[in-house]
């Protein structure tokens, strides 16, 4: 019983994903999850010391794959630079502002007070996205689509602009499910300001 196996771990993750989806994070309990996987509560805790850790693991894995795909879609060779940013921004916000992703981010910030979840999340999700966007912008600068500047800073400006209309409401738990058309228009405003802020003179 002390040896952890990948099969068992995966079974727990699958069961937890179901339970979280059906009940939401708040209502779901470790007992609900244990009831689906069988075995003792001690075994479950042996794999995942808390509901938070388990939730993070389940949700983060799922979203990390989607985010990876979105960032991978940025094509520095594409003709229309602005269109690339619009598409990227929209895809990114659709994932980030899905109810599951909002729940993970909320939890991540709350939990970073007393665990390394915040750090994990930053290193596994935020930092890679930022650096891939910076790569894309660096190429855009070389092709003279935008002015030359520090691409890393430009990436941070772009990402913050994309979220500027939604972030505060989301962090304060006041954002209802976001409609696709809301995202489309917020992204358009953000990309326009980014492009004119980084326009060549």
């Amino acid at each position: 019983m002390k040896t952890k196996t990948e099969v068992k771990r995966q079974a727990i993750l699958n069961a937890a994903a179901e339970v979280f989806r059906e009940m939401g994070f708040e209502r779901a309990s470790m007992s609900d999850i244990r009831a689906r996987t069988g075995g003792s509560k001690a075994t479950l805790y042996n794999y995942f010391p808390s509901k938070e850790k388990l939730f993070f693991e389940v949700m983060h894995k799922a979203k990390a794959g989607e985010l990876e795909e979105i960032v991978g879609g940025l094509n520095p060779e594409a003709e229309d630079f602005k269109q690339q940013l619009l598409d990227f921004g929209k895809n990114l916000l659709v994932v980030l502002y899905s109810p599951e992703a909002m729940a993970i981010r909320h939890l991540t910030i709350a939990e970073s007070r007393h665990s390394d979840i915040g750090k994990l999340s930053f290193e596994q999700a935020a930092a890679p996205i930022e650096s891939r966007v910076a790569d894309f912008l660096r190429r855009g600068m070389k092709r003279r689509a935008i002015r030359t500047a520090d691409p890393k800073i430009a990436a941070m400006h772009l990402l913050s602009l994309l979220e500027s209309e939604l972030m505060q409401r989301f962090l304060l738990g006041m954002l209802d499910p976001v409609k696709p058309e809301t995202i489309t228009s917020a992204v358009r405003r953000a990309v326009e300001v980014f492009i004119s802020g980084y326009a060549r003179r």
């Binding site: 708040e26 909320h106 991540t108 910030i109 709350a110 970073s112 007070r113 390394d116 915040g118 750090k119 999340s121 930053f122 290193e123 935020a126 520090d150 800073i153 941070m156 400006h157 990402l159 913050s160 602009l161 979220e163 500027s164 209309e165 939604l166 972030m167 505060q168 409401r169 962090l171 304060l172 738990g173 006041m174 954002l175 976001v178 409609k179 058309e181 809301t182 228009s185 917020a186 358009r188 405003r189 953000a190 326009e192 300001v193 980014f194 492009i195 004119s196 802020g197 980084y198 326009a199």
Partner: protein, 223 residues
């Protein structure tokens, strides 16, 4: 004298509550415990703060409100020179929000917002402050120093860019220690420079953005 005494009591409640909330979190802190530590009766505490939620918001926002009056002066100072005003304002805002204490407060606010329904109260307080920045930008637009657009949107964008370089790693405890003055000044400079380029008067984007204003998102207009 009586008013004064009452103010002192109120201040003592705020300070005690602030300390307890920060150490124990919202759920584990009770009005009883706050009363016990401040001294006096529970009804006195309730006469100042009718609910735990209200007290939580007040004490978390007290530092912000004290500091904002100083920072907002930068916006009054020089409407003739938006760049200087925004740089001073931006550095001052960053210095405040990147302090370890304010980061901790912010985490706590975010952690509780969704659960205890305090988010709306915080949002109201923060919006009042954002309105001042928005009013400053509106004046700059009216006097032709910035191009015409939605000043609320511009204020949100400027706020987001100011925080862009450092807030997330600090909030998630990825980096330790606060940024120094030099780092803060540079971040503010880059954010303000990008913002002013984007909102420069008579830029080719102007017409486009004006037409974009009509199609405001439902999030913004739903308020």
């Amino acid at each position: 004298m009586q008013v004064n005494k009452s103010d002192i009591k109120r201040q003592a409640i705020l300070e005690t509550a602030y300390r307890l909330f920060r150490v124990q979190g919202f759920d584990k802190t009770s009005m009883d415990e706050i009363t016990a530590q401040v001294g006096g009766s529970k009804s006195t505490v309730y006469s100042h703060f009718p609910s735990k939620e209200g007290l939580f918001v007040e004490c978390m926002m007290a530092a912000l409100e004290n500091y904002m009056s100083g920072t907002l002066k930068y916006l009054d100072a020089s409407r003739a020179d938006p760049r200087a005003a925004l740089l001073n304002f931006g550095s001052s805002v960053l210095k405040f929000i990147c302090s370890p204490e304010q980061l901790e407060v912010r985490r706590l606010i975010i952690a509780e917002a969704a659960r205890s329904g305090t988010g709306k109260l915080f949002f109201g307080k923060l919006s009042a402050l954002r309105v001042k920045l928005s009013a400053f930008l509106a004046e700059c637009m009216a006097s032709g120093k910035l191009r015409h657009d939605d000043p609320d949107l511009a204020a949100e964008q400027l706020g987001a860019m100011l925080e862009a370089e450092m807030l997330e790693p600090l909030l998630l405890q990825v980096r330790e220690g606060s940024p120094d003055e030099q780092e803060i000044a540079l971040a503010a400079q880059r954010a303000v420079a990008t913002f002013l380029r984007a909102y420069a008067p008579n830029s080719p984007q102007e017409r486009q953005s004006r037409s974009g204003r009509a199609a405001k998102s439902s999030v913004r207009s739903a308020e």
